[in-house]
C-alpha cells in the first residue's frame, strides 16, 4: 500500500526523522495562508499524488504548470494552487490519463548545501532490508545505478536490530561526509531504518535527502509503501489509503479476493494461479493478440468470484474476447464449469468466450460445457485456446 508524501512525512516526523516544516492545503486560500504561516520568504508548493516525477510533470488543463513549484509570496502560492487543485497532473509515472490533484503540501524553503539519496528496500539477494545511499540526490536511483553504479552504497539492515552506528560511519565515509555531517547521519539514518522495520515497509525512499547549510539532514521528499500482508498489525495505517489513487476495477477485484491488473489489450483473461495467469498473457501475445488484463481467481474460486471476475473483465470496453484458462488441481474442473455457466447467464456475454480446461474431472466438465447449449468455444490445449481466441477477434 502506497501513501502520499505528506502522510509519509507526518509518520516520519513522529518517528524522529527530520522533515521540512509543512502545511496541507486543499484550497488556494489555504495555500496562501500556509505561506504566511510558514513565515519565510520562500516556500515550495507540491501536488500530492502517489506517482513520482511531479516536478517535471505538467497539468492537462494547464500545460505550463509543473506539479512542484517554488513560490516567493502568499499571492504566488495562491495563484499556483489555483492552477493545480482539481486539475490533472501527468508525469512519467502516471500514464497519459494522469491523476487529479486534490491536496497540496506547502513547505518552507531550505538552505540546501548538498543533496543525497537514501532508500530502504527488501533485497531478495541479501535476504533482508538494505539501506541504499548515493551522493547523487535528486536523480532517480535506477538512473544512477545504470550510469554510475560506483556512486551507490549498500548496507544490510538487521530486521530486528536496525542500523548500527558503525554502519552509519561506513556509509558516511563512502559518501565523503565530514564529521559534522556524519553526526547528522547518526541522528537520521538509524531512525529511518527503524521506521522501515517498525511499520513493515516495502519501500522508504528519501530523494533528495538534503544536507542544509548548517549540516543538518532533512527529508525533502519521502516515498513510503507498506507490505499489504502485514497490515493486520498496522490497522491505523489503513486509514491512510487513498482509493482515488487506485484503479477502480483493481480495488473491486481486491475486495472480491481476486488478483487483477488492467492492461491495454483486447483479450480478457480469467485464469487460476498467478504463474499460469502471466503465462496465459504471454501465450496470447505469442499468437499475435494483446491481453486486456491479468486475472488470477486463486485456488478456491466460487460462483460469486467467477461472476465478479467476468463482470470486471467485461466492464473494460477494450475487451473483444475472453479466454478462460483453468488447470484444475484440487479445484475440480466441473466445479469451475458450474460456476462458469451460472456466471455466463448472470453477466450476459456479448463477446466470444473461449474455454480451455485441464486437470481433475476434465471429461465431466467438457461434457457439461458441450451440453450447456451456450455459445462457448471449447479449446483442447494452450495453443489451441490462444489461436481460437485471437482468431475470434479478427474474424
Amino acid at each position: 500500500m502506497k501513501i502520499h508524501e505528506y502522510q509519509a512525512k507526518e509518520l516520519l516526523k513522529a518517528a524522529g526523522v527530520t522533515v521540512p516544516d509543512g502545511i496541507i492545503a486543499k484550497s488556494a486560500d489555504e495555500a496562501a495562508a500556509a505561506f504566511d504561516k510558514l513565515g519565510g520568504d520562500l516556500a515550495v508548493v507540491k501536488a500530492q499524488i502517489h506517482a513520482g516525477g511531479r516536478g517535471k510533470g505538467r497539468f492537462k488543463e494547464q500545460p505550463e504548470q509543473p506539479g512542484v513549484v517554488l513560490v516567493r509570496s502568499a499571492d504566488e502560492a495562491r495563484k499556483n494552487a489555483e492552477l493545480m487543485l482539481g486539475n490533472t497532473l501527468v508525469t512519467i509515472q502516471t500514464g497519459e490519463e494522469g491523476k487529479q490533484v486534490n491536496t497540496l503540501l506547502v513547505e518552507a524553503g531550505l538552505d540546501i548545501a548538498q543533496e543525497l539519496y537514501a532508500g530502504v528496500v527488501v533485497d531478495r539477494a541479501a535476504g533482508g532490508p538494505v539501506l541504499i545511499m548515493s551522493s547523487e540526490g535528486g536523480t532517480e536511483i535506477e538512473e544512477v545505478a545504470h550510469n554510475s553504479p560506483e556512486k551507490i552504497l549498500n548496507c544490510n539492515v538487521d530486521a530486528g536490530h536496525g542500523l548500527q552506528a558503525g554502519q552509519v560511519r561506513k556509509v558516511s565515509h563512502g559518501l565523503g561526509l565530514d564529521a559534522a555531517a556524519m553526526g547528522s547521519a547518526q541522528k537520521f539514518l538509524p531512525k529511518l531504518a527503524k521506521f522501515f522495520n517498525d511499520n513493515d515497509c516495502t519501500q522508504v525512499e528519501i530523494n533528495p535527502l538534503v544536507v542544509t547549510g548548517s549540516g543538518e539532514f532533512v527529508a525533502l521528499d519521502a516515498k513510503v509503501a507498506f507490505d499489504d500482508n502485514a497490515m493486520f498489525r498496522h490497522k491505523e495505517l489503513l486509514e491512510l489509503r487513498d482509493l482515488n489513487e487506485e484503479d477502480e476495477s483493481e480495488v473491486k477485484a481486491g475486495d472480491a479476493g481476486l488478483s487483477y491488473v488492467k492492461l491495454e489489450g483486447t483479450i480478457g483473461c480469467l485464469v487460476n494461479g498467478a504463474g499460469l495467469a502471466m503465462s496465459t498473457m504471454d501465450l496470447i501475445k505469442h499468437h499475435g493478440g494483446e491481453p486486456a488484463n491479468f486475472l488470477d481467481v486463486g485456488g478456491g474460486a466460487n460462483v460469486e468470484q467467477v461472476t465478479e471476475a467476468f463482470r470486471i473483465i467485461l466492464a473494460d470496453d477494450n475487451v473483444k474476447a475472453v479466454l478462460v484458462n483453468i488447470f484444475g488441481g484440487i479445484m475440480k474442473c466441473d466445479v469451475i464449469v458450474e460456476a462458469l455457466l451460472l456466471a455466463y447467464d448472470q453477466v450476459g456475454f456479448t463477446v466470444p468466450l473461449v474455454v480451455r480446461l485441464e486437470g481433475t474431472n476434465v471429461e465431466k466438465a467438457r461434457t457439461m460445457l458441450a451440453e450447456s447449449g451456450k455459445d462457448i468455444i471449447a479449446a483442447t490445449d494452450l495453443t489451441d485456446a490462444a489461436q481460437k481466441v485471437v482468431s475470434s477477434i479478427s474474424a
Partner: protein, 300 residues
C-alpha cells in the same frame, strides 16, 4: 531415486485442525496409501491447545516437539495462517524437523526475513512459503498439487508458480516424461530453498536425468541459476519464464513478480538461460517439448 522426499519421510501437518490443513492431509495420506501399503507417511498434526484430540484418525499434538517425540516425524507441511506462520516455521526448525514445507500465502516479508535468519543457524530445509509443495511421484507428496498429474520418471522439476507447475508436469507426462521429484519453491521475495539449491541436488541425484526450471519476472534468481548451471550442471536443462508481457512496476499476483527499474525482465532471464545452453520454451504450451529437445540435444 529422488530428492527431499523418500521412503523414510514421515510428515506432520501444522494447522491440521483448519479446513485446508485437514483436507490436504487427507489427500496426501490417500496418495501415499495408494502407492505404498507398507506404512503410513502422514502421521499426525499440530494445533496448539488442541493436543490429545484425533481428527479423522490423525493424532493432534500441542507442539511440534511433542509430535516429533511421539511419531518420529521428520517433515512438516504448514497451513498456519499468515500472522502466525513465521513462528510455526521457527518452531518446526527448532524441534529438529528436517524438511519444512510452508504452503501458507501472505506471510509478511519482514517475518520471513527473521525466519530465514533463524534457519541459517539450523539444519532444517524450508520449501516455500506460498508454494504448492513437493512431490516424489510414487513415494509421497507433501503439498496441494493433484497427485495424478505427476508420474514417476527422470525429470527433476523446479517452479516458482503453482498451477504452472501442474501445467509443466502435465505436458511432460503427455510426452512420457515423468518426474523424479517436483518442487514449487514459491514466488515470494524471501523464500527458503531456491533454484540453485535444487539444481545442485538434482545434479547429484542418480535418479534424475534432466531438469526443468520454471521461473518468472522479478529478482535475479534465474540469472544466478544460469550462472550456476554454466559452472556445475551437466544434465540437460529446459526452462520457461512467465511474465514476458507483464508491464513494469505492477504486481502480478505473486509478491515477487514485479519488475522495477528494468531488472528481472523475462527477456533478460531467457537470454541468460539460453546463453548457458538451457532450452527455453518461448510459449508456455511448449514447456514439455523444450525438455524433450534438451534431452535430445545432450544425447546426440
Amino acid at each position: 531415486m529422488s530428492i527431499l522426499v523418500n521412503k523414510d519421510t514421515r510428515v506432520i501437518c501444522q494447522g491440521i485442525t483448519g479446513k485446508a490443513g485437514l483436507f490436504h492431509s487427507q489427500k496426501c495420506r490417500e496418495y501415499a496409501r495408494e502407492v505404498r501399503t507398507d506404512s503410513d507417511v502422514f502421521v499426525g498434526g499440530v494445533t496448539p491447545g488442541k493436543g490429545g484430540q484425533t481428527v479423522d484418525e490423525f493424532p493432534v499434538f500441542n507442539s511440534v516437539a511433542e509430535a516429533v517425540e511421539k511419531t518420529g516425524a521428520n517433515a512438516t507441511m504448514i497451513f498456519v495462517p499468515p500472522p502466525f506462520c513465521g513462528d510455526a516455521i521457527i518452531e518446526a526448525a527448532d524441534s529438529g524437523i528436517d524438511l519444512i514445507v510452508a504452503i501458507t500465502e501472505g506471510i509478511p516479508t519482514l517475518d520471513m526475513v527473521k525466519v530465514s535468519n533463524f534457519l541459517a543457524k539450523t539444519n532444517a530445509r524450508l520449501v516455500g512459503p506460498n508454494c504448492p509443495g513437493v512431490i516424489t511421484p510414487g513415494v509421497a507428496k507433501i503439498g496441494i498439487m493433484p497427485g495424478y498429474i505427476h508420474s514417476s520418471g527422470p525429470v527433476g522439476l523446479i517452479s516458482k508458480s503453482g498451477t504452472l507447475t501442474y501445467e509443466a508436469a502435465w505436458q511432460l507426462g503427455n510426452l512420457g516424461l515423468g518426474q523424479s521429484t517436483a518442487i514449487g519453491i514459491g514466488g515470494d521475495p524471501i523464500i527458503g530453498t531456491d533454484f540453485i539449491d535444487l539444481l545442485e541436488m538434482f545434479e547429484n541425484d542418480p535418479g534424475t536425468e534432466a531438469i526443468m526450471m520454471i521461473g518468472e519476472i522479478g529478482g535475479d534468481a534465474e540469472i544466478q541459476a544460469a550462472n550456476y548451471i554454466k559452472e556445475h550442471v551437466t544434465k540437460p536443462v529446459a526452462g520457461f519464464i512467465a511474465g514476458q508481457t507483464a508491464p513494469p512496476g505492477k504486481r502480478m499476483g505473486h509478491a515477487g513478480a514485479i519488475i522495477s527499474g528494468g531488472a528481472g525482465t523475462a527477456a533478460e532471464k531467457m537470454e541468460a538461460l539460453e546463453a548457458v545452453g538451457v532450452v527455453v520454451a518461448q510459449s508456455p504450451a511448449d514447456m514439455g517439448k523444450a525438455m524433450q529437445e534438451a534431452i535430445a540435444r545432450k544425447g546426440s
